[in-house]
Symmetry: C2
Subunit: 272 residues, 2 copies
Amino acid sequence: MPEMITSHANPQIKAIRKLSDRKERNSTGEYLAEGLRIVIEAIQLNQPIQKIIYSPDLLRSSIGWETIAGFEVKHPEKTLRVSEEVFKSITQKDNPQGAAAVISQRWVKLDEIKLTSRNLWVALHQVADPGNLGAVLRSMDGVDADGLILLDQCTDPYDPSSIRASMGAVLTRKLVKASSTEFITWVRQNRFTVVGTSDKAKLDFHTYTYPDPMVLLMGSERQGLDEKLQLICSKMVSIPMRGKNDSLNLAVATGIILYEIDRQKNTPGFER
Amino acid sequence: MPEMITSHANPQIKAIRKLSDRKERNSTGEYLAEGLRIVIEAIQLNQPIQKIIYSPDLLRSSIGWETIAGFEVKHPEKTLRVSEEVFKSITQKDNPQGAAAVISQRWVKLDEIKLTSRNLWVALHQVADPGNLGAVLRSMDGVDADGLILLDQCTDPYDPSSIRASMGAVLTRKLVKASSTEFITWVRQNRFTVVGTSDKAKLDFHTYTYPDPMVLLMGSERQGLDEKLQLICSKMVSIPMRGKNDSLNLAVATGIILYEIDRQKNTPGFER
């Protein structure tokens, strides 16, 4: 049994704590995933785990114990046992479950993506809120969409709020970062079909037949979809707004359109 | 021109600042709405405004000036001019627009609600996150749903995060608070139709024809829909989950089902 880390000043613990900062995540290429569920999933999915951190005093679940013990046997050098106090110093949760993992970020390059039959990708332009970004990933898991392209200045999918909101989908969906310019070139060269959304579009998103494969392109929370990006869209659709507002929450809007695409994909005999 | 309040210790300012606390909102029956857009909307909609607070140094928009000046002429006793510093002490926004309003909460009693043709209500059981609650209200505005019933211990729709996420929909949607027991009695006595959601329901929400009028009942973020509440549902529907997770974000799930109901309502010839 390895020794238990009880000091907040332990250099490994200090390094882990720093991962709450985006700059540190960018420079190390790592992130901290907190909570039993995501840690178990990361182990089961063979994610590039650098460290598992657990606190025996906090860890109550038997499946949690089993999974982490299994990992510890194989990778003792990658496992840190820590005191309750030390664990609480690295977690952002109110009732921590005693398990966290430092995992390497996985980014796919835009050039590596080839859309083939039935592929569904989402692209977000300058999404600002990590909760929204995480909720989009969670909805993408719901319809089993392939991956997410983050255009220009977006919030970080590996932000703790995004990871939490994604309910683990950050582990399973492909992630790409690109500039608008790179994205436009990629779409044009490959002749991919992009469907955009705008509150000014005349086409009701329910009445459009979505192509296969496609990229669903959503604008930012504040600005809606950039004009330059609208130009590469094969079609612009809108969600009807029957009340006083002219838009929905970005994650809600993305979820609504993804599930309409899903309905069409899964309705036998739906004409596509 | 009234005098400008420059002291943080001004008793009116102190009372307004306290409204960030739920207890204070409950005991006064008031809340603070921040931001130009919602203040203008509150004035235009003749909401029960107790005070308008504005800072001439921060207020840049001409429509903002006009609307607030119009209000001030009619209700000088309800208008507070404050310094930039004092305004910043009451706001939770990073870039305050210099306008806020203290408004009386408006709650409708469950007994007062009679569902009639084409009415669409939403009931949430123990929703915990004010951002989710606000986003649900925003989606309800999107489909012009009538009102929201909050069951048992819910977060406060007048929480600043909820108001912000609702984009003003908190002003325009009817709000009801009730216990599960009261709700069940109300549904039974009036024979209202309630449609519930559960990840275990076999019926895909897309394949069900929604009745008119109806209440859409959603469970909490953590627990899903309570068994006792499931018993009064005419139908339970589920959203297909094709990935690793068994649920979506609550606001996203509610928005997806609301827009399916909306699609059916607005598809000519859709059989209902």
